[in-house]
Structures are given as C-alpha cells and as structure tokens.
Amino acid sequence: MKKSGLITLAMVSALSMGSAFAQQTIKIATLTPLSGGQSDLGTQIQNGARLAVNEYKARFAKLGFNLQLVGYDDQADPATGTANARKIAADRSILAVVGTLNSGVAIPASQALAPSRVAMISPANTANSVTDRGLKNMNRIVARDDAQGPAGAQFIINTLKAKKVYVLDDKTAYGEGLASEVDKALKAKGIQVVGREGTEEKSDFSAIISKIQLLKPDAIYFGGIYNQVGVFAKQLREKGVNAPLIGGDGYDSSELLTIAGEGAKGIYFTTVAAPIEALPAAKTFSANYQKTFKKPAQGFGAFGYDAAKVALQGILDAIKTNKNKMPSRAQVETAIRKVKATGLLSGNVEFNSVGDRKAAKMYIMSVGDNLKFKLAETIDVKAPRQ
C-alpha cells in the first residue's frame, strides 16, 4: 500500500516536473496557544507540525508546490482563537489547520472556518461536542472523551479490580469532560465512586488528599494535564497514599515523571499514541525533534506531528484528484475526511462521517519502578458511529 503510493507519487511528480516553474504556495497553519500558561504545550504541537512539514517539503516541491507552515496563536482563548481562525480563512493559500489544543477554542474556531471549508485536524481535543456538531471540516486524531473515558474505566475495573474509585478533574473542558465519562462508565458497572470533584489549584492539594486518606479508594482517576497531575501525584505519594492514579492522554509527557519524581509510581494513563519503543518511526521522530528544537519530544509534539501528516497526506490526495493542480479547499476538506493515513506515530488514521478516528488502539501506559513509561495493556476502541 505504502510502496504503491510512493510509486504513484514518484510518477505524479515526474509528470508534473514540467509545470514546476511557477511554484505555488501551499500553507498549513497551526492554531495553538503560543503565549500564556499553556504555551509550552502549544509550542510542542507547532514544533511537531513543523517537523512533518519539513519532511514533506521535498515531495510538495516535486509537484511544483512550495509548502509552508504558519503558526497562529490562540492564547487558549476562544475569542482570540476565532479571530485568528477568520484570519486563516482569509489566507487562501492555507489549506488545512492543525489545532487546537483546547476544545473550548476548537468549537468556535472550527465554526468560523466551516463556511470557507478549511479542514481542521485536532491533535488534542477530546470533548465529545467537538465532532458531535457534525461539521465537515472538523477532524481529530485523538480519542473522544466517551471512548477514552470508558477505556480508562474498563482498565480500572478489569485490571486494577478496584471497587471504590475517587474521580477528580481539573475543571477545564478537557479534564472535566473526560472525568465525567469515566464517572458515568464506572457507575454503569456498579463501581462505587466515593468522591467526585474538580479543582483549579495548581500547587496545594492537601484538602483533597486528606479526603482521599479518609475514604481510602482503591483507585484514583484524575482527568487533567501532566503539570497539575504531577504535583498532585507527588504530594499524594508523600502522604503515603499508594492507590493507583489513572488519567488520560494529558499525562503523556516526560515532564510528568520529572515533576512527580518517585510519586510517579503507580500512574496509568490511556492514550492513542503508541509508545516510542513500539514504533521505529517514533525513534527517528524523537531524534529529529531533539536535533531541531534542542528539546526532547513529548506527547503533544507527537500528536502535532501526526495531525500535520494527516493533513499533508490529505492535501496530497486532493492534489492527485485535481490532476496535480492546486486543489480547492473543499477538495482538501473532502480528501482529509477520506484520508487513509498510514505509518503515523499513533498507527493508521481513518475518519468516520463526523471526523472521529474510526478505530484506534488505545494504549494503557504505566510508570514502572524504574520511573519510565511502559506499555501495560492495549484496548481496541471504536468511534461511537462509523
């Protein structure tokens, strides 16, 4: 499959050599927070996408296109995100957008991009409503809350055999959405949820930990991002609570291990990104990332890379259907929805009718005694509709 694709591409590019004199510019944009408290995550996505673009530059050049990446900042703020989405819509050479980090930004931004048919591929949004609105241009490569949540719950019930669970979240659209799904799935299976609350606190968790000590749950689920969860895990373990701590793909960062230190033991999380050891491509990716940006590659970087690759493969497909001419945005939008992207860090990507990933392997990662991530289990999840 891959090989034949390459051969076609080579033929296509050979054919198009003649028209290469007038290089047209194709841009893909990233829309992520580049300033403010979440700029770190947003920058990772942008960097990942940049690597993908660098990788594909030559292929596009052969077809006579000059491929570029433009980074837009949404400041994790819905209004800024929308304003920048409209700006993206105005730049006709932008054919696809990788973004956003926050579901709260993705919803209005995709709405603003929908009429001009700019496809969006989110590397991070998990809220159900992102794709439930059925927009033609909104896709995502990560699992929905209602896929990831039940997967986490299933792991808690079947593998950890927990009877009492404490469910926490970070009061953001991401964390709360995920934790609510876990809560629902646990209750449906008759598991006792002894505590259910949210906190925006970033440093002091002593009140929550006291409650956990009192209620003695068998497992704790915390829907949140690693920088908050890491601090929580550290304090939790320091107070002598050793119950397993489970979360979603927001944990997927080596920073979690740095922040939590010894406290990271007994952390599990669900993610669609395959562990780096499992995929040879991932090794090259992380080496490249380190070389280009002088920083180690992390989860969101990998998702950004994957999302950009899906976008680029979609654009290539659209170029192909358009007989090697500059495709229209509508063509790219359709091509991306129909894309069959292979060889990504997170496996193969196909989208269903609303832009959710059709089937994905959900990996459950754990932190071993050597304080490194390792694969604990894989669970097959399917999108709620096909």
């Binding site: 403010g36 408290g37 700029s39 770190d40 009061k171 505590g195 609350e197 949210g198 906190t199 925006e200 606190e201 970033k202 440093s203 002091d204 002593s206 009140a207 929550i208 006291s210 409650k211 000590q213 009192l214 209620l215 920088n227 890491g230 601090v231 550290k234 304090q235 320091e238 107070k239 002598g240 920073e255 740095t258 922040i259 230190g261 002088k294 920083k295």
Partner: protein, 337 residues
C-alpha cells in the same frame, strides 16, 4: 464513621491548613510592609516572590551533586533568594513607584499591575532559554521524609503525631521553622531597632518623619528590600513545599496572600500572620466541606468541594470587611483629610 477517625481527619486537615497558612503568612508580610509604608498594593510582589523560588531552584540545581549538607544548601538557597528578590523589589520601587510618589492613588496601583505582567513574561523568557518551563525542585536527600518517621530517633513522638492524625514531612517542619524565625526577626527589626522605628515613622507620616531627619526615600527603599527578602524566602519555601513552579505560579498564591494581609488588618505584622493562618485553615476546611456534609448528613453542603476553595477565601474577605473593615487586627485610623 467513628468519632475518633473523624476527629483525626479534622486535625489533619487543620494542621495541613496551618502549614499552608505559614506560606501565605510570609508572602502576606511582603504586601503588608509595603502597604504600611506607601499604601500601595504591590501587585508585583507575587513575581518578586516567584523570582525567589526560581533562584532557589537554580541554587538547588547547581548544588545538586555538591558534597555538602542539605541544610547548608537550603541556607545558601534562602540567602541568595533573599538578596536577589530584595534587590529586585528595590529596583522596582526606584523605577516604577518612586516617580509616582505624589500621583493619585490609582496611578501607582496600575503601574504595579503592569510591573507584575512584565515580570511574568521576563521570567518566562529567561527560563525559556534554559529549555524549561515548569521548574521542578530537586531537594536534598531526606527533606521529603516523614517528620519523626518510624526509623528516626524521635519515632515515639512521630507515632504520637500520626495517632492524632497529624502527618508532617521534614520539609514542612523546615518551612514552619524558617517562617517563624523570619517573623520573629522581622518583628524585632520593625519594633526594636532604630531602623524599624524610622520605617514606622515614615509609615505614620512621611512629611513629619522627614522633618525629624529621617531620609524617607531611604527608608522606603529599605522597606522594599525587607519585603523583597521576605518574598525571596517565601518563594524558596513555596518551591520546597510544592516542588513545581513556573513564571505564572506566583499570581494565585499572591492574591490569596494579599487577601490574608487584608483579612488580618493590612499594615499589621501579626495581622498578616494571623490572616495567613486563618485563610490556610479555612481554605482547607472549605475543601473538605462536602465530606463533612455527607458525614453529618447535610445534603446542601455536598456540592461545596475543592473547586470552591479559592473563592471561599474571597467571600470570607467580603464578609470580614463588611463586619470589621479594618481586618482582624488592624487599628482603625481616622482618615487624614
């Protein structure tokens, strides 16, 4: 749920609230000192304090493998943070507040907000060049162990503590000890030295103090130096306790600490301490209200959970200010017209 378990749960919550309260108290002192002298909310204090935390982080990082005692490292970290945060605070005063000494009250307040924003970004940029964003403290060996754990020489005392529900780590004990020492030192400087008397005189009446031969500008600089140094200490203690900081993590505790200062009666040193402790305990109690509600069978309390911790502090502040506008320990001074 037996009474004993409930009681030790409550004791545990209150004690961890008190530890938290000491962090707030010592940050609050930085606000209250400046406010006492200039009647200015030094919004930038939260960044001065987080600068101290960053300095502490760098010291611990550099000394991570140095063959010296952990407590010595801590002292070096505290001293460097005090010096740098103190000087930073003096610099801020010179550049941003002194030129506005005679402007309407609103003007320096707005400048202070501006300085706070500037410092946040500068810290982010500086740390960004190191390739880090969230700074994680690497503490000397043993700081995270349980205070009087089962293997230490005071294990008997330790088992007494855990019996009544108190669970402290060595770093938390260090925090409280350092905070108390600092409070005592500050109290001594302000109340029992010539310098302190001069500062109080300037706080009381700048013009008259000037007539008495006190260089009010120097005294104000000194106040900022002391306030900044306290900020530096609190930053290191903050990093010690919570382990992770970044350029923006000073703002939230800063606001709560200022609330504590107002709660205790702004301008009053014991007030700031009392306010911090009260706020720490109350925040923790609000955090466990839902459990208490379900234990006591009061359904309406069950929806009040940890997400209300911070705003609980603000609502408390409103109530206190309505009932006693001068705060818990503040004296009501007649307004000068």
């Amino acid at each position: 749920m037996d009474v004993q378990a409930l009681l030790s749960f409550l004791v545990g919550v209150v004690v961890s609230g008190l530890v938290l309260g000491f962090v707030y108290a010592i940050i609050a002192l930085g606000y209250t000192m400046v406010y006492g002298v200039l009647q200015l909310i030094n919004f930038a204090h939260s960044e001065v304090f987080i600068t101290g935390a960053v300095v502490g982080f760098e010291v611990f990082r550099v000394l991570a493998t140095a063959p010296i005692n952990g407590y010595l490292k801590l002292i070096i970290a505290l001293l460097s943070a005090m010096i740098i945060s103190g000087l930073l605070n003096v610099l801020i005063e010179r550049l941003a507040y002194r030129p506005l000494r005679n402007a309407p009250r609103l003007v320096p307040l707005i400048t202070a907000i501006g300085v706070s924003l500037i410092l946040q970004d500068l810290l982010r940029i500086l740390e960004g060049f190191q390739g880090r964003f969230d700074l994680t403290y690497t503490l000397p060996q043993g700081f995270s162990n349980t205070f009087c754990g089962s293997t230490s020489s005071c294990a008997a005392f330790g088992s007494f503590l855990s019996g009544i529900g108190v669970q402290l780590q060595i770093k938390e004990v260090i925090l409280v000890v350092v905070a108390v020492l600092m409070l005592a030192l500050l109290n001594y400087i302000v109340n029992y030295t010539r310098m302190g008397r001069a500062i109080r005189a300037v706080a009381q009446d700048r013009v008259t103090a000037g007539l008495m031969g006190i260089d009010s500008n120097r005294m104000i600089s000194l106040t900022f130096l002391i306030g900044g140094a306290l900020g530096g200490v609190s930053g290191v203690l903050f990093g010690l306790k919570f382990g992770t900081i970044n350029a923006y993590s000073g703002f939230d505790p800063g606001i709560v600490a200022f609330t504590a200062a107002v709660l205790g009666g702004i301008g009053s040193i014991p007030g700031a301490v009392l306010g911090g402790l009260v706020l720490g305990v109350i925040q923790n109690l609000i955090g466990v209200t839902n459990i208490l509600g379900s234990l006591l069978g009061i359904a309406n309390l069950q929806s009040i959970d940890a997400s209300y911790q911070r705003i609980g502090a603000f609502i408390l502040l409103v109530v206190i200010l309505i009932v006693k506008p001068t705060g818990l320990l503040g004296r009501s001074n007649t307004e000068k017209v």
